[in-house]
Symmetry: C2
Subunit: 522 residues, 2 copies
């Protein structure tokens, strides 16, 4: 069985450059990928606490919202809440009637489609689905040759290309690394143009002010080729709303919620509740606060527009109590991820989680923190997994090599989630009979008919024996990932966009850039 | 909060050298450990297939045993089976009546205590318990300075010391690395003397011939200070029986099963069913064969002695179909681990699994393959986890650094499995009220009362920020593990053994060594 045969059968369509259809790429240049498609969890998520315990946390969260309340730092939001009759307001402080919160949250849809400009790349959110998303928002990036550096547009574009290239990445994130060489006034415009043209998967924007969000909405509308009216029923843009934990929602976040929810676009409310810092030092306490903040945000979105697509975001982790540094992929992170899932399912709202790690380099720690995260995410019932690939240093760095290793990890999770075939043919009695005691299965008909696609073929894992591996220079996973990410960039093909759409997009972005974009503080 | 305070509260009793009680070890020399104690899984294992699918595999396994049969390569075993009336025999080939297999297997206990010479170190096996065991059987070992080398007694002893030192390791394995500088005729005698004296946790022996096993039984009897009659009701020795897959049990394995089961000692039957090599290329087919072989072995042990403690061993993984090399920690390994657990629970027999990896070095691959394994093991309901710490290269190497990293991984799994406290105090409403919107929890009374033991404190993970970490020389997890393993050897304290017991042990071993031990083929 030749390498070529195996790789050809696994490399899936649509990703090859035109050149490849004429000239076969040199051996080793293809990267084994699973076909595209959002994963499905074939088993029930794990319950880490009893239903009664979930109720206790739910009730405590409502108590937080009714007795302590939450600060909403946007007058329009306060006005809207005031009109609802479901809250008591003192200044910025909003105290919620528990019944109002429960009623509002009940309007949230339990699943919906997140549309991409390429309809084949639209993804289902919710239920037993698990969509994996690229790293988002690190200020820095890193690769083996270039080292650690501030984010810039060229690296941002490279991450977009990786996002597009790898089938296992279902959607883009905000900025996989911040393109700081784009002036903040026009950064969102140029960065969204890059995103809208370099990938054809679902896109996301930041909530950094009203005009900023309105520009993003217009870009999403253009590339999805829908009218403003049609867009309301076609979620094709998402924003992540981070509460200012504890118990605050700032004006930019609230503006984003109002603009997106009112237009039927997706708001993911994710409290950033680090236990011991911005939240209580106990996992249950931190998740109680997370739940209170999430419920307040989700209820607000439903108040803006009943039925608007929302996502319950869980991001509770802990800090290192020796230094105060955030820790990720920890046992506490796993516990809170499972617990958050139970709460999200109680409300019937899709659940956002993350593939996190705090490591400073692509070593064993980076890998074990990530797989512990993926374990929590998968068994906890995560539906939308942010920072799926490339997140390092607790979010301070996007790593090109880690991106590729994470793609391998995600592919392994997706393979693990494949339903197990127990048909008579798969039980293989005939093969066991053919081979009999003391034989081997390498040459059995059952094996020959299946070997090329029988098992997951990894991107990174090196299964050569020690002697062969040593002779090849003892490459570790980091080194292999470095080669693969560069190969992936070489293999990348820009997805087509109709010329008229491109022209409409450029006309809008060029005009807005010319106008100076948005006001900045500096 | 000083490092010393935190570390003191976590370092648990009984492991400090006498010197330490006089002179505090220098800062950094303590290794954060969880207290000893076998983990308990607080949630249900995951069902990867339906109960009907489990039945289909169960029935197919019985069909394998009744129609194809299994070769038993020991005349005494054949005689015993013949007398049972439950089998048809043709030469070595034994075809089992399904009802006979089911009846025999029903006699196996669903849980029991595996006794150690130190009663505090005896461990429960079965139910929701998860005992973690050191690496066993690699021919080679490795550390950063010494590189890859053949097994030898000095390294073997070092692994015993690590096995004893780390609280999270509940039992010893066979030889963590083969002490090949001990002549095979007396290897078991000297190696078991080392094991019986350097650790006081439960011990294991190899089934490499009748006299070999009888020597091990006598050593276990002496160090446990029981009579032969008492020993029958006190499991204090285990052996792993690997079938020669497909469908063979050799004479040494069968001898071990007969000698141990007849004396109420523990036999773990573990088919080595690599899908695509010694078993069908489908996961369900390989597990069907695994289940057939396990059932045959377990039924045989119960025929030898009804109620003898046994363990159902699962070790189905796959091969790399490009090279034929075994692969571990793969999606297929995870699937087979979960499936094996469903079968073991169907029979009500404790389940043995493993922490595996195929990596050649302590890199990201080693870590992710191990955590994927631990994920399968934990969610699959593993009760006795072999190769818990130190296994590399698919079992060809025991790594000192990997041992320590695996201890960290095991500790993280154990912390994750801690029941989540959702008492009113843990829900922390008072703390949330005290801090209020926009505050922080660092100084809250709730935090101060709990910070020192609130979160898992890792052995290896480096959570310093990039600048501090760079200034410290950018150490990766492998490097840190290298320091820790040497520190652990320094911290190791030999467990006491009464002089009379030691004398009895030495008298026996010295006599048997003088007699030449056992016959070898060379």
């Amino acid at each position: 069985m030749s390498d070529t045969t195996v790789e050809t059968s696994i490399e899936t369509g649509g990703r090859r450059s035109r050149r490849d259809s004429v000239r076969r790429p040199p051996a080793g240049s293809t990267i084994p990928q699973l076909p595209p498609g959002v994963a499905r969890r074939p088993f029930q998520p794990t319950k880490i606490v009893s239903d009664d315990q979930v109720e206790a946390i739910h009730k405590a969260s409502l108590q937080v919202l009714s007795e302590i309340g939450m600060d909403f730092l946007l007058p329009e939001a306060i006005d809207l809440l005031k009109k609802s009759g479901g809250v008591k307001i003192t200044g910025d402080r909003v105290r919620f009637d528990p019944a109002f919160v429960e009623e509002m949250v009940s309007h949230a849809p339990s699943n919906f489609t997140f549309h991409a400009r390429n309809p084949d790349k639209s993804i289902p959110i919710g239920g037993d689905r698990m969509a994996f998303v690229a790293v988002g928002s690190p200020p820095n990036c890193h690769d083996m040759e270039g080292g650690r550096r501030s984010g810039n547009r060229a690296d941002y574009q490279k991450f977009l290309k990786l996002t597009q290239y790898f089938n296992c990445i279902d959607a883009s994130s905000g900025y996989s690394v911040e393109p700081i060489d784009l002036h903040p006034s026009i950064r969102h415009l140029e960065a969204l143009r890059d995103k809208a043209t370099l990938i054809d998967k679902p896109i996301k924007c930041y909530s950094l002010g009203r005009q900023n969000v309105l520009d993003a909405i217009e870009i999403a509308r253009i590339v999805n080729q829908v009218s403003e009216e049609e867009m309301v029923n076609r979620p094709c843009l998402m924003t992540i709303v981070n509460t200012n934990s504890p118990l605050k929602l700032d004006n930019n976040m609230l503006m984003g919620m109002m603009e997106l929810s009112s237009r039927g676009q997706i708001v993911c409310v994710t409290p950033f509740t680090l236990a011991g810092a911005m939240a209580p030092v106990t996992v249950a306490g931190a998740v109680t606060q997370q739940n209170a903040e999430a419920l307040a945000g989700l209820a607000f979105c439903q108040l803006v527009r009943k039925g608007a697509p929302v996502v319950y975001g869980g991001f509770t982790s802990n800090v290192d109590m020796k230094s105060g540094a955030p820790a990720f992929g920890t046992p506490e992170y796993m516990q809170s991820t499972l617990l958050g899932g139970q709460l999200a399912r109680r409300y019937g709202i899709p659940y956002r989680t993350s593939n996190t790690c705090a490591a400073n380099t692509v070593d064993a720690q980076a890998a074990y923190e990530s797989v512990f995260s993926l374990w929590g995410v998968t068994m906890g019932g995560g539906n939308y997994i942010m920072h799926g690939a490339g997140w390092m240093e607790g979010g301070l760095v996007a790593s090109f090599e880690k991106f590729v290793i994470d793609c391998d990890l995600i592919q392994m999770v997706k393979s693990f989630l494949q339903p197990l075939d127990t048909s008579p043919d798969a039980l293989a009695l005939d093969a066991i009979r053919e081979v009999g005691p003391g034989g081997h299965f390498f040459g059995a008909q059952h094996t020959l008919a299946r070997y090329s696609e029988a098992f997951y073929q990894p991107i990174i894992s090196d299964w050569r024996n020690y002697q062969q591996w040593s002779a090849a220079g003892s490459p570790d996973a980091y080194k292999k990932a470095n080669q693969v990410y560069k190969q992936a960039l070489e293999n990348y093909v820009q997805p087509p966009m109709p010329a008229a759409v491109r022209a409409e997009l450029d006309t809008f972005v060029d005009r807005r850039v010319k106008e100076g974009g948005v006001k900045t503080d500096f």
